[in-house]
């Protein structure tokens, strides 16, 4: 069965979506990622969508679901690399990806995940979520 690979790097999981996903493949990724977060105890997930030339409501919903599920599983998700034309279209479509943390590129996304982890590591008793 076709699958999007999930790479592990330290306490983070990395996903680069490079194919035009049909809906079932998107659902499989959602399931695989949640399983992998639990298996590895990952504290962060980075999803690179720079190769996606559209994000429709189905993919938008998948990104929202992954963010919400990972949060429940004590991991932060950052979606990076959205193309400008995709951002314009997504907002006009009526989706602004509420609850999905984004960064311009992989480097900035990784910085957010590292900062979140450091923050949580240093303030173990502090329950404040790293979100704004």
């Amino acid at each position: 069965m076709e699958r999007i690979p999930i790479l592990r790097m330290g306490s983070f999981l990395l996903v680069t979506i490079q194919v035009d996903m049909h809906d079932r493949l998107a659902m499989t990724l959602q399931d695989d990622l949640t399983t992998k977060i639990v298996q590895t105890g990952a504290s962060g997930v980075l999803i690179d969508i720079s190769a996606l030339d559209i994000v429709d409501s189905f993919i938008g919903r998948m990104l929202g679901n992954i963010s919400a599920m990972s949060r429940v599983l004590d991991a932060e998700t950052v979606v990076v690399g959205m193309q400008p034309a995709v951002a314009i279209t997504l907002v006009e479509l009526g989706l602004s990806l509420p609850g999905v943390r984004t960064a311009l590129n992989v480097e900035k996304g990784m910085a957010i995940l590292r900062a979140t982890r450091t923050l949580l590591g240093e303030e173990e008793d502090d329950d404040v979520s790293p979100e704004e």
Partner: protein, 134 residues
Amino acid sequence: MSVRKSETMPIRTQADIVHVRQAVRTWSVDAGMRLVDQTKIVTAASELARNTLEYGGGGELLLESLSEGIRVGLRLTFTDHGPGIPDLELALKDGWTSGSGMGMGLSGSKRLSNEFEIESQVGIGTTVRITRWK
């Protein structure tokens, strides 16, 4: 207005939604659309193809390349023979869905198009036609 080229594609499986996206991308590039316009019509096509499959039980897409004077555009007509939509006004509301979707497909693709028409008859089927000019 004249139709310069046309093609019909089936929408029967999830893979067909991907084929529709790819075909609409190719046609919008051929029409000379800029990237943002390509992205908008491909996204609208993806939403409507999914509706045709999920709610209409499958159907087809008629792709047409149009020219009118000096302007060129793409017209996409999605047809299914599914249950039809009893209340079109409700179906076009943001966030309303009869299924498990987000309810952005129909209203969103209307916003992403220059022209939008929908016809639906309960028990007979639904036709959605969108046009985007370059």
